[in-house]
Symmetry: C2
């Protein structure tokens, strides 16, 4: 009986603190944020412009500069306290003319296939490159074949993304080493080129771009690397089964130029109580060039802009200074993220929280937090506030590439986690376009981010000094 | 201190029962079901055939008959214990030639607009119908205007779906009375026709079909009803603001014929312990005719077929008899659902559980259960088993239209609840097509359904006699 009473008291206590957490003011503010986003949102129009009027925004490109100017101008119309550009030198790599490739099973018998140069790759010789192909299932496979079987050939990395992983980012994480390090590793065995199966869970004809690195391979030993579509990869693999000595031809004239000047775009609402303590919400303004970068990461940019717009619209005056940061050069350098963190450190700006949206403009499912137990426990106590919006997933893990360099013991890092099923259908490919964006899904993401930022601003974090005052 | 110990014990106790619930066999079986669905699923191929080889499957149409034959043949290949067709008489309504409509702001000055006849509507006169328009915000609005302002006019129902509702089915529920009962109500005030704003949260040019009813209005007083696209509705409303006496012209020659014979398609794995107790999993095989019915409800059909296929593939031998039922005529009559329930009652078949998928082939988020607290509590205790698959939402509420007639005190009814954000972009419109289906999202739905059916089969329900034996 006593046990039952203690249990009852405990239930009441839990019930009470639950009721405390779901306080009316918070509920109403969050409802207000969602209503504003869904009934009078601006993110979809912004993204329409970024995607359809500007297009793919590769670092160092004219489009990237246009995106800087456009978003700066739009932020200036929001009535923020400050809007500015933060200069940053970025790599400039250009794809050049459209790549061309074919599979030659006998002299004069060939089938064209869709490829694209990987970002950062060197060009092939001007007349292209033709060689035999050796198919491998990953980097580790190279040593199984050894230099004698690899030298003079094109290495074809064909390990597919694992379809039975529910979170598609895990499947990506399990394969992307082939793209990133495949050329550097294959070069060590004397390979003359690299073909990488596109990081795509769907079978289709689109090659998916993405960055690669030669690591410490000297310039004169670098070999060209391209991505092949999933259908193309399956075809090539089948053809190799029938005709192991077939040849693969590809031509690409991509090029790396000297670094050029670009910018992070920053807007700020200055905090009413802790103006010297910062909350960052952001995405990256650059994108790959094959599509228009709607999901990666136009969506994250306009959602981040929307967070500050929503605060102005509902007349919320944050305690902390809230910044939207549109980072430049996430895709092939992370220079913007590094520059922002470097400047923050130089100016001794204390950042208590940073949230990035860089996983597509799909229905938001929750957040991932890079933080300690105390902060995570506080954030988890807010879950009931998110229930009405079907935001269920609060996990500990990574956050976002651009905000990573801000990491220290005083900051909570977070990443928006939208539904991931369709992301890699579009990621870095020609179909990452505005028509693949659903307006409501995009808007729900912005409202979800705004709600979390509101709670963090109001209640502070457990690590930052500011929460003592709250 | 004592309190802390009690608390600790409680935590341990909860932890223990949690661990019990997530028993290894269940975890592994569910993992197995998801793996099979994602790595070797069949639902996407089935849907490809239903959508692209057959197409829209309006009750009584040739396509509906083809779908019956195709799915029966496919079920017969699965090695089920029984596959059969259950005859049912269904309404036969045909759209006839493509509808035509324009808005005439002055004699000879007109703009065409996209409409479609609502299912069950009568035709306009052969040369069409032209009349002034009165815009209303819903059925209640009619009495505000009264017969004198409505008589001889076309009533234009223009209350939009509410964009700030997170669950789009709620927004649909708040508007669909205009479509279903709009003509019957307007006829009582002497209206000559009805235009209904499409049930679509997106602004586009597609009219959305759907059923309507004349209730007890005599045949000679029935007035034609059509849906207008959301863009068309906005245009018409604006034009009415400028020119209140504009005229609307529309022509449609849809027609209702005598009922025709059709079928529910049923397959069964007979139960090993309780062969006379039934679990049903299903969707509806008929669809509207403008698209190919991929989301509504080809998806639900192939997911339901997949549940039984998965059980065979993982060699799971259910205790209860498990039936897949592909119901005919959900859209404009519910005859299939009623027939199935009627026959079940006649044969004294005890149904303990029925699950319907009829909310699109999008990423599954959870289930809604029409059941009592005891059953819901048991099902909620399984939530941890679904966590790895990001299935979070277990609510009490509705289930599915086709399984509704089975309701009695012994059955638990459930509906799969996928993400709802994109559903009404496609619902009953020309863009409910196979290209709007994501393979993974579809497959996740089937695996999620199979997992729940497995648990229900294994543990029984709290209402059914069978659970006593478990």
């Amino acid at each position: 009986m006593k046990k039952q009473i203690t249990f009852l008291l405990l239930v009441l206590f839990i019930g009470h603190s639950y009721a405390q957490k779901v306080n009316t003011e918070d509920s109403l503010t969050i409802r207000n944020l969602y209503d504003m986003a869904l009934l009078n949102g601006k993110s979809y129009d912004w993204l329409d412009h970024l995607s359809n009027e500007i297009g793919g925004r590769l670092s160092g490109s004219l489009e990237a500069q246009q995106a800087v100017e456009y978003t700066e101008a739009e932020l200036k119309q929001l009535g923020l306290d400050k809007v500015w550009l933060q200069p940053v030198m970025v790599p400039k790599w250009t794809r050049g003319t459209k790549e061309y490739a074919y599979i030659e099973t006998a002299p004069g018998v060939s089938t064209t296939t869709n490829i694209c140069a990987l970002g950062g790759s060197v060009a092939t010789p001007a007349l292209g490159l033709k060689a035999e192909v050796i198919e491998v299932q990953g980097l580790d496979d190279l040593k199984n074949y050894g230099r004698e079987q690899i030298e003079g050939k094109i290495v074809f990395y064909n390990r597919p993304m694992q379809a039975n992983l529910i979170n598609t980012f895990e499947a990506y994480g399990g394969c992307v080493d082939q793209r990133y390090a495949g050329a550097a590793e294959a070069a060590k065995y004397g390979a003359v080129g690299v073909i990488v199966r596109s990081m795509n869970l769907r079978q289709d004809d689109l090659p998916h771009a993405g960055s690669m690195s030669y690591g410490d391979i000297p310039a004169d030993q670098r070999i060209p690397a391209c991505a092949i579509s999933t259908n193309g990869a399956n075809y090539l693999s089948s053809a190799l089964g029938i005709k192991p000595d077939l040849k693969f031809y590809f031509k690409q004239n991509c090029k790396t130029f000297d670094d050029v000047k670009s910018y992070n775009v920053i807007g700020e609402i200055t905090g009413s109580e802790h103006p010297d303590k910062y909350i960052v919400v952001g995405g990256h303004l650059d994108s790959w060039d094959l599509g228009d970068g709607s999901h990666d990461d136009g969506a994250g940019c306009v959602q981040s802009m929307e967070v500050l717009r929503l605060f102005k619209k509902i007349n919320y005056k944050p305690k902390h200074s809230i910044r939207v940061v549109l980072f430049m050069n996430e895709e092939n350098g992370l220079r913007g993220g590094r520059k922002y963190a470097e400047q923050a450190k130089l100016k001794n700006e204390q950042h208590i929280f940073a949230l990035e949206s860089d996983a597509g403009g799909f229905t938001p499912r929750g957040f991932s937090f890079d933080t300690d137990e105390a902060n995570f426990a506080q954030i988890e106590s807010w879950k009931p506030l998110f229930e009405p919006y079907l935001i269920h997933s609060f996990t500990r893990g990574g956050s976002g590439a651009d905000i990573g360099p801000l990491k220290d013991e005083n900051i909570v890092l977070a990443g928006l986690r939208p539904d991931s099923q369709r992301y890699f259908v579009h990621h870095h490919a020609a179909n990452d376009t505005f028509d693949a964006i659903n307006k409501r899904e995009l808007e729900l993401g912005g409202a979800t981010m705004a709600s979390l930022v509101y709670l963090i601003d109001k209640y502070g974090t457990k690590t930052a000094t500011s929460d003592v005052k709250n």
